[in-house]
């Protein structure tokens, strides 16, 4: 510590002695009050379900019962540990971090350096993905297909938008709905007649194009402006899609939606096959699509386009000055994400067989966001794991946690992750470094700054 710093510190401490602060306003005690407030909040969060007949029921229950004392003890305990035992704890944490970090880092370096090992692991994961599901029970197979696989596909798509291009898309699931209604339309299950009835396989390219065009139409006016407008416009777009699906009876079938949507099937060179109600065949189909999308996108990540995204994220103005057409590349990411969502919509619809507007509530968009954030935006293994873990967890905890509280915990998870670990549990290295540098004032980590021309 230099002499200047020391003297500054001396002056500061002398000044703080001169200033009279009430004891309860000392930082240590303001932190205590904060922890007490947190404890009360925790008691409310973990308390009983309320009901509308007596709106005080839940408040009373959680603020008078033993639950409150447990929560308070917990948070005040954390406070006490942090205030009075911070040095030994910090030492222990640092040691643990070093102990885990060194072999972890070494493994990571091996993975980066050793191509064979990396391919071996990817191959192993693929083999496991193909073999393990056939050993699971039917219930878990259904969860695997209807939720984990579909959401993994969606998460990979959203990862392009949020992880690579650094844009926030809150209407991601709306494109899923577009894909789903395209399927219903092209298989002739909507009140409006399609020009010809197609097999769901042929709907996939059509849905990709439809979602691309919708994404372009929505993104073009918005992305010329500040990046954060996209968040609210997509939120509104989701609501519009939902209301159109619900209200335009003559086109979308209204609240009843569409039924009897056919399964995938092919009849090629004498081989006939129809995917049926069984989950496993759909699992293999989905694994095929997920692998396909991963291969395509990771090629994209390291291409010119991917580098343009990185450049825009890290410093939009510098990127523009170097000739990157920022609006075009942002729009591209948004549209690519949208079409992935559309593909997932087609597969889901065909598997499920019926759709109605209630399949596409806004919270689904937020769910996918949570999966991507939790896993680690920008990292494909991260988002796959995030989706798998967060779909699996509520299913596994079904008997312990009230199902209607799920979304509350997910919201809290988003906030906590953003405060303590914005890079996710399996971060992309580059993204982690960007976030860290942006916090130190070097460059940026999203595509939300003012556009280079200062249009808005």
């Amino acid at each position: 510590m230099s002499a200047v710093e020391t003297s500054v510190k001396d002056v500061a401490s002398a000044a703080s002695r001169l200033r009279r602060t009430a004891w309860y306003r000392q930082p240590r005690f303001t932190r205590l009050w904060a922890m007490v407030a947190l404890g009360v909040l925790l008691a409310l969060v973990t308390g009983e379900q309320g009901n509308t007949r007596d709106i005080f029921f839940s408040l009373e229950g959680s603020l008078t019962g033993p639950n409150l004392w447990v929560c308070l003890a917990l948070t005040v305990g954390v406070w006490a540990l942090r205030e009075f035992a911070s040095t030994p704890i910090k030492g222990a944490v640092d040691q643990a971090k070093a102990a885990v970090g060194r072999p972890g880092g070494a493994l990571r370096d091996r993975l980066q350096g050793d191509q064979r090992l990396r391919w071996g692991l990817i191959g192993l994961a693929l083999v496991l993905a193909l073999v393990v599901p056939s050993m699971l029970s039917r219930t878990w197979q259904t969860v695997l297909v209807d939720q984990i696989a579909i959401f993994a596909l969606l998460a990979i798509g959203l990862n392009v938008v949020i992880g690579w291009a650094g844009l926030l898309d809150l209407g991601f699931f709306a494109f899923f709905a577009v894909g789903a209604y395209s399927t219903a339309f092209w298989t002739g299950r909507l009140p409006v007649e399609p020009p010809m009835v197609l097999n769901p396989f042929w709907v996939i390219p059509i849905a990709v194009v439809t979602c691309l065009v919708t994404g372009l139409l929505l993104g073009a006016p918005t992305l010329r402006l500040r990046g954060d407008y996209l968040a609210i416009v997509t939120l509104g777009f989701h609501e519009i899609i939902y209301l159109v699906a619900k209200n335009a009876d003559g086109v979308t079938g209204g609240p009843q939606g569409a039924r009897l949507i056919p399964d995938f099937s092919f009849d090629f060179a004498g081989i006939e096959y129809t995917w049926s109600i069984k989950p496993l065949p759909y699992w293999y189909l989905l694994v095929f699509f997920i692998v396909l999308v991963i291969v395509l996108f990771s090629r994209l990540e390291h291409s010119r386009v991917g580098r343009a995204w990185t450049a825009i994220r890290e410093d939009e103005i510098a990127a523009a000055a170097n000739g990157v057409d920022t609006v075009r590349f942002k729009l591209m990411a948004f549209a690519i994400g949208a079409s992935t969502s559309g593909v997932a919509g087609v597969i889901f619809t065909s598997k499920y067989g019926y759709i109605n507007p209630e399949v596409f509530p806004l919270l689904q968009s937020i769910l996918i966001l949570a999966y991507v954030i939790f896993g680690g935006m920008g990292s494909i293994p991260g988002v796959l794991m995030g989706a798998a873990a967060l779909v699996w967890l509520p299913e596994a905890l079904k008997d312990y946690v009230d199902a209607s509280d799920r979304y509350m915990y997910l919201g809290a998870l988003l906030v906590i992750m953003m405060i303590y670990r914005p890079q996710g549990i399996w971060p992309s290295r580059r993204r982690q470094r960007e976030l860290k540098m942006a916090e130190e004032g070097l460059g940026d980590a999203d595509a939300m700054s003012e556009p280079a021309g200062g249009k808005a």
Partner: protein
């Protein structure tokens, strides 16, 4: 649509618009000082409505309260909503946004936090207060008091409009005439320079949230008085009011007021023209059109320079 209908809907639209204006101010204030779309503002609004419901359930107005008692109930319910709104906004800033601001986190991180907080708060409200919609107890005998161009105006609407106007005028004075207002404008213009000039940024931002929260909370009460209270009630008015803030020029307080009234009228006019189910679509369509043709909004300037 007959002429009479036109006036009826215009009056309704202006009334509704005054509410949107009050909510929009909350968005615009926070955007001014933090450059953040505070998605959780719609939950501040919702919890404000629950604040008034709790006060009224505790007081229990009963049947036919006297005129004086009615005024008392309205005032207390309003105070309850302001308290809930203010406390929620304060806590939100303290818990969710301040750690990020200290760290200088990128804007994407702020936005994700905002949406997460919104998600958390409304599901928490659903859990605490039950998930069915409720109505506020009757505080007064609602009847028409006068008419504008033949369109009847009842007590609820007068209350709503007057409160909104009083709050907006008060806020305008606060921002333009007081020291805190000067601080808010300074932080909106340039937070770093403001701090060099001796403005306590943390305090200004915290108070800005509280002001926005109080306005949002009272708006929640007025809205609940008109419709119902439910844990999902915040979403649509919230997104509509945000559209209003953008239409008026985000960061511009008077713009938010103008935008609110405009969106309110457009939305209400949609009802006789296209049908009730399309009303919330119209606000989003207006938002997208404004972004396409006049992205800076109608009055488009920042808090610091305009108000």
């Amino acid at each position: 649509m007959s002429l009479q209908e036109f006036w009826d809907y215009l009056v309704l639209g202006v009334m509704l618009g005054s509410l949107y204006a009050v909510i929009a101010i909350g968005y615009t204030l926070v955007y001014g000082v933090l450059q953040l779309i505070n998605f959780a503002h719609s939950e501040v609004f919702m919890l404000g409505a629950y604040g008034s419901l709790i006060v009224l359930q505790l007081l229990d107005p009963g049947d036919n309260p006297s005129a004086l008692a009615s005024i008392g109930f309205v005032a207390l319910a309003m105070a309850g909503s302001a308290l809930f709104g203010g406390v929620t906004a304060y806590g939100l800033e303290k818990v969710a946004y301040r750690p990020l601001r200290r760290r200088g986190a990128p804007r994407l991180i702020f936005l994700i936090t905002a949406i997460g907080a919104s998600f958390f708060l409304y599901n928490l409200a659903g859990k605490l207060f039950g998930r069915d919609p409720m109505t506020l107890p009757e505080m007064y005998d609602n009847h028409d008091v006068f008419s504008v161009f033949g369109a009847g105006v009842n007590i609820t609407q007068v209350l709503q409009f007057l409160t909104a106007v009083v709050m907006m005028v008060g806020l305008d004075l606060l921002v333009n005439r007081t020291k805190l207002g000067k601080g808010i404008r300074a932080v909106a213009q340039d937070a770093e320079v403001a701090s060099l000039m001796g403005v306590d940024i943390d305090r200004v931002i915290s108070r800005t949230f509280v002001i926005g929260g109080v306005l949002g909370g009272v708006a929640g009460f007025l809205f609940a008085n008109l419709n119902q209270v439910s844990y999902t009630m915040g979403f649509i008015p919230g997104i509509t009011a945000f559209a209003a803030a953008v239409v008026g020029g985000i960061g511009n307080i008077r713009g938010a007021m103008a935008g609110g009234v405009l969106i309110g009228v457009v939305e209400t006019m949609t009802v006789p023209l296209l049908g009730d189910e399309w009303r919330s679509v119209s606000a989003m369509v207006v938002l997208i059109l404004v972004l396409m043709f006049r992205p800076m909004g109608i009055l488009g300037k920042q808090v610091g320079r305009a108000a």
